[in-house]
Symmetry: C2
Subunit: 379 residues, 2 copies
Amino acid sequence: MHQIAILGFGTVGSGVAEAISCDQNRIQAALGTEICIKYILDLREFPDHPLGRLVTHDFNDILNDPEVELVAETMGGSHPAYDFSLACLKAGKSVVTSNKEVVASFGPELLEAARQNNVSYLFEASVGGGIPVIRPLINELSVHQVQRISGILNGTTNYILTSMQSHGKDFDSALSEAQKMGYAEANPSADVEGLDAARKIVILAAIAYGRLVSPKDIFCEGITQVKLADLKAAESLGGTIKLIATARQTEQGLLLLVAPHFVPNHSLLSHVEDVFNAVSVRTDVLGEAMFYGAGAGKLPTASAVEADILDIFGGRKANQAALVWERIGRSELTDPDSIRCSWFLSAGEKSCILIDKTREEAVTYGKSIQSGACFRVLD
Amino acid sequence: MHQIAILGFGTVGSGVAEAISCDQNRIQAALGTEICIKYILDLREFPDHPLGRLVTHDFNDILNDPEVELVAETMGGSHPAYDFSLACLKAGKSVVTSNKEVVASFGPELLEAARQNNVSYLFEASVGGGIPVIRPLINELSVHQVQRISGILNGTTNYILTSMQSHGKDFDSALSEAQKMGYAEANPSADVEGLDAARKIVILAAIAYGRLVSPKDIFCEGITQVKLADLKAAESLGGTIKLIATARQTEQGLLLLVAPHFVPNHSLLSHVEDVFNAVSVRTDVLGEAMFYGAGAGKLPTASAVEADILDIFGGRKANQAALVWERIGRSELTDPDSIRCSWFLSAGEKSCILIDKTREEAVTYGKSIQSGACFRVLD
């Protein structure tokens, strides 16, 4: 029997508990033994929950219990989630997490602690919810040169853009609807301004290129300025507008950005709708591969945490030796505005696509045709 | 250093050799040691190939060499590929393969031999070329109940259908073009009549449901009867026609079939074009997830073989304990024609979708509106 602890009994943490309880028969079949939740760390009490008796308020109960082999960190926020994770790894316990904030900020330290203590630090649930994307990137694709990663990594903004496009809504009313549906927070800024997608793309870039950038240091533009007229103009040119997070190695350095892009209809990403996420990875050998699915939600995210737990107990260690992330700063990134690319100018009937232009050149031309906005074209 | 042998130096086998040679630096980084090809088994000589000196014509050289830890079987055909694979597993060598025919016909025996000898039998390259689909299905998704798998598993037929739809060609001229482009064999029957897709879906169904059916025993209809008029009619109803292979557990038993389906535009599968493949998996927890990429080709397929090799040498064992496949016969399958589903009737301007009908009911109604053909609707 494997004993584990769950840190944080919110949406994801309670989902992990539920998934593990429901799946015991299949876990038994896969591992030949069961997984038992010994502690749940939370500040609150859950007297009416069947697992409420497992709640502790003292992290040391977990840290000092040698029977706890693995800890699922589903607290959210940087502290104390980072501190608790580090302490567990140093105590020889593997840690799995859904916390993209911690991975994006402290990945190098936590991966190093895992290596030094011969345990695992896995974070499949931190990007793309239930979609298996981190593991293929670490394992299957690790031996190939990743040319670029482009993804729709935030379900809230994709829902809003889909709703604007399909139902002719403006941004504000699409956002209100997303809030009513529970797809957007009361304070939606981390989603609509692109920070959530930024955290996820820095994690994917770190896996692909071995270098971790602070999410705050990357070029990040959300969807608050996208107008219904821009979506209509994009449609008339055979495409749509999606919030794309992308990473690639250029001759000038690593390029990382989050911005609304014109996505032509021949790209599968243009057809990813509502709250779904998708990650497209282009490698030297494979060409383009894409992973698609539910990017958020209690059970999909919990299921990704559970998959990491099963990998660790099943002895299917991720290729963690390869996960050495060097921290780099803004000055080592390529300035996206210096890169020549194709641009979509949204200007009603005069809308057009410009090829091989810097942003400045695109904006200058845009003024001449009274374009309201310009958007990068996904390549 | 890990020593391996390659059985069969055709397209995939030579691709595996090329991939491993090119990737030595990254292999070294991932494994901390290199992979060395010690033998290549082929009936032919390759005097001008840099690895030509490794060629042997005698399988026993490989079987009896204890230094060979792993064998990559890329021969194609059932025999002697199966016999050689079994002998290697029994000799304590792991086997990886791209050979869907062997996996679909002899999977249970080979998986059992791998278990008994504590080695691995992996076959990522047998379905979906370079797309990581088998491993997520075995590992990440294994603990969930798979509700259905539906995929575009054959690139040749997808190329032909895309070409008919986009360029208004009829089947024969689209096939000729695919042959000219090297996407279809001179004898295209295994592709266009659906057998290739049938072999792949029985493998995916075996992973998901633990039961292996002979590809010959499943309902299998190719695309030779699909007319340009059917594609046009589908387009007018907001969809297209794709060759879909599908597996699901119904109340009446396992349902497996390969047939052209009407795929509505809101399904991402409808936008998978040309030679690309995609597999959509619906599970109880995750909802729908989709994997997309190059379904064939020398380097993508070789790269999937290489990924299996790296998994084995990297100690990331697949969850092979779960891969116990019971062989079942045609009588244990559900008759697809007995299942009620939605149908697309292709009848020019009278084309329509019928809901909740058996095939017989759909055909009967179809006659009343002079429908030329009826197609299942993808759900």
